[in-house]
């Protein structure tokens, strides 16, 4: 199957189409509005379900198989924020604060993009490592922490300590639910997962579809803000994921992951956080402009990955895997 065919299949999946429907809803000024409570519920549901499945899978995975992919993920989490920060400061002429804020988003990971990659793999019957959700938890924190450290070391003044930032990230909703799900899945194992499968596993893709409808509406709002921002950041938001995605695929490949696993790790690297990172940045670096970091991550990179990035990273992983 060639790259264009993959792209077509991805674009016509109910998930991507639901996202587009959300965009359209805003553009035609429909009065459609999903309740806040539904959005929060779906977020928690998706994160918890990802965690559960990953945890149940971890319970049957040896550390032997895990350590290299975890190392690869940590390398990504440390490298990407530096690269992003450098590009933004040097070529984009952003100030320290805004450069760090944006770098934090690209250094972290988007759980929904990750999920879309899983779903894509499943619908193409691509085999995958089951422990991938654990890597999401590993990737979520370092990028944000390093970006904050970059901002701090360039600024003077008090502000909260490194430890308190890490604690805030770990007790923040998204990571808490994800790690909580991982632990529960791991402790209760596959028989435990079996009991809750009709709720957390089977309807998962449908719930994601509904969630992406809402995401489309949110992204449309962000995109509008964003277009005022100027071409450099748009270019950044389109190129950065390709660079990070390629890097992720490569590292996954050399860490001995399957084609599918390298593809998903690449997608994770390419994705920009828009749940954990914005909340952390808003509080730790309130001077940073949300129109930049949200516009880039949610308005451009997220839809780009969803529509084009995912089949692209797969094509790369496939080409690389074929060489072996």
């Amino acid at each position: 199957m060639d790259a264009l065919e993959l792209l077509r299949l991805n674009l016509l999946s109910p998930m991507v189409l639901a996202f587009v429907l959300g965009l359209v809803a805003v553009w035609v000024k429909s009065d459609l509005k999903l309740p806040d409570a539904l959005y929060t519920t779906l977020s928690i549901y998706l994160l918890f379900a990802i965690g559960l499945k990953g945890g149940a899978e971890l319970s049957v995975t040896s550390f032997e198989m895990l350590w290299r992919p975890i190392l690869a993920t940590l390398v990504l989490g440390v490298t990407i924020p530096f690269v992003a920060y450098g590009i933004l400061k040097r070529f984009g002429r952003f100030g320290v604060i805004d450069a760090a804020a944006i770098a934090a988003h690209y250094g972290s990971v988007s759980a929904v993009t990750f999920t879309a990659a899983l779903t894509f793999a499943q619908s193409q019957n691509i085999p995958l490592e089951g422990f991938l959700p654990a890597l999401v938890a590993v990737l979520e924190v370092p990028g944000i922490a390093i970006a904050l450290w970059l901002a701090r070391s360039a600024m003077t003044g008090e502000h909260s300590s490194f430890g308190s930032i890490a604690k805030e990230l770990l007790t923040g909703r998204s990571l808490f639910v994800l790690i909580g799900g991982l632990m529960i899945g791991w402790l209760s194992g596959k028989p435990g997962l079996e009991q809750v499968k009709p709720f957390f596993v089977d309807p998962f893709k449908g719930a994601l579809t509904l969630f992406l409808l809402e995401m489309g509406m949110v992204a449309a709002g962000r995109l509008r803000d964003f277009l005022k921002v100027g071409p450099f950041l748009i270019g950044f938001a389109l190129l950065m994921p390709v660079i990070n995605g390629t890097l992720g695929v490569l590292l996954g490949h050399y860490a001995g992951m399957t084609i599918g696993g390298a593809f998903v790790l690449g997608t994770m690297a390419a994705s920009a956080s828009y749940i954990a990172a914005p909340a952390a940045i808003r509080v730790a670096l309130p001077q940073a402009n949300p129109a930049y970091y949200l516009g880039a991550s949610l308005g451009v990179t997220f839809p780009f990955n969803l529509a084009i990035g995912i089949p692209l990273y797969y094509a790369i992983a496939n080409a690389l895997g074929g060489q072996r």
Binding site: D36, Y39, T40, D225, I275, P278, A279, R282, N289, L294
Partner: protein, 100 residues
Amino acid sequence: MNTTPAKRITIIAERLLEDRLVRDLILSGATGYTITDARGAGSRGVRVSEWEGGNIRLETLVSPVVADKILELLQKKYFEHFAVIATLEDVEVVRGEKYL
């Protein structure tokens, strides 16, 4: 009915700030508060992360002295970088001695 004059401070802020604001209110001497979920728009209009929800509308009934303390704290800690808006008004409270 005998009522006691009091100040009502109404704060509109990003939901993200809920815990911080409550902590600061209590530290400044407020004995209670009431929050409703709200949405809105203003001159900045930039809100972070939908996952955090929209705004909150926080009311607290306090004595004039505490009111002043709260407004000063808001000024110092939030007004520069966050979307926070605060109003002050006079109300009569029933059983006011409990809250002031």
